[in-house]
């Protein structure tokens, strides 16, 4: 009971979500059934959005749910179903590949984790709830304003160069949207290129 009393609930929920995320990510890794992989991935990404919200990025979390889980993964599963037949559903990988991959990945993991814990200011959290302001969680409109080029969060920045340098994401936003359009058109074109060739072959 004393333990429960001492629990920092923020940490608790973080751990909950983190464990679910990592668990299902590993599930994606070790499952060999492509559809189950997709299912695990869904859950992993959904809980990731929980992690985002825990870090105060409500909007990003909602975006993660909406675009990633709601859009991308549905697309993915769609593709899975389009390409799923007996051979494709189960594709075994040779053990050798597994060994090599796990070794390489393990080394990378060790590297990254050592990097993550190597900086003391990253390891310790000295932020007290007092110096969190109400709108740190209400970041939606500041995100939106930043996307249209107004950085309200650094409007009060003392350093003028910093203010100037960090102004807005309008250009990036436009570029990304145009890029998105191009990609969608291109994807549609790619997906139907085959049939088109077939018809022309017939003619």
């Amino acid at each position: 009971m004393l333990l429960i009393a001492a629990i920092n609930w923020h940490s608790f929920f973080f751990l909950l979500f983190a464990l679910v995320t990592c668990g299902f990510a590993l599930g994606v890794l070790f499952s060999s059934n492509i559809v189950r992989m997709a299912f695990y991935l869904t859950i992993a990404l959904g809980t990731t959005s929980g992690l985002f919200i825990l870090a105060g990025a409500h909007f990003v979390g909602a975006m993660q749910l909406m675009i990633y889980v709601g859009g991308t993964l549905v697309l993915l599963i769609f593709g899975v179903m389009l390409t799923a037949h007996e051979g494709a559903v189960l594709m075994k990988t040779r053990a050798g590949d597994w060994v090599v991959a796990v070794i390489a990945g393990g080394s990378l993991l060790a590297l990254l984790i050592s990097a993550a814990v190597s900086i003391p200011t990253w390891r310790s959290n000295e932020v007290t709830p007092a110096d969190l302001t109400a709108d740190d969680s209400h970041s939606t409109s500041s995100v939106g304003l930043a996307l249209i080029g107004v950085r309200t969060d650094i409007a009060t920045e003392k350093d003028a160069t910093l203010r100037r340098g960090l102004s807005g994401y309008l250009l990036a936003f436009e570029i990304v949207s145009v890029h998105l359009l191009v990609v969608l058109v291109g994807a549609a074109y790619l997906a139907r290129a085959k049939q088109r060739l077939a018809t022309t072959g017939d003619v």
Binding site: L3, I7, N8, H10, A18, V28, L29, M37, A38, L41, A44, L45, T48, L51, L54, A55, G56, A57, V60, M63, I67, Y68, L73, L75, L76, F78, G79, V80, L82, T83, G87, W98, V100, V102, A104, G105, G106, L109, L112, A116, T121, W122, R123, S124, N125, E126, V127, L132, V143, R151, L166, Y169, V176, L180, V183, A187, A188, L190, A191, K194
Partner: protein
Amino acid sequence: MIDLLTSPISVSHYMVVGALLFVTGVICMATKRNALGVLMGVELVLNGANINFVAFGSRYFRTESLGLDGQLIALFVIVLAAAEAAVALAIALNFYNSHATIDIDRADDLRG
């Protein structure tokens, strides 16, 4: 384990989770023979990166944080991931149409 529960969360925790997702994704890319599996690995990798961005952008862990940039970059990553998924899926379908399989080990026409 206990003090994990009691002490407040820091950036490192997020980075560890991110690293785990990242590596999982990488291994996924390296082991799955199904092109869509590889695609899922890519999504995992991107999410690992995103977690770091959001963690560094959050004001809950460090007094000097990236501020909004973290969230904004994360947003862009999500959107671009959607685009990338669309294209990759189209490519996969095309490959499936042409090679009648989704196994990327069979996609070695350009072998040296």
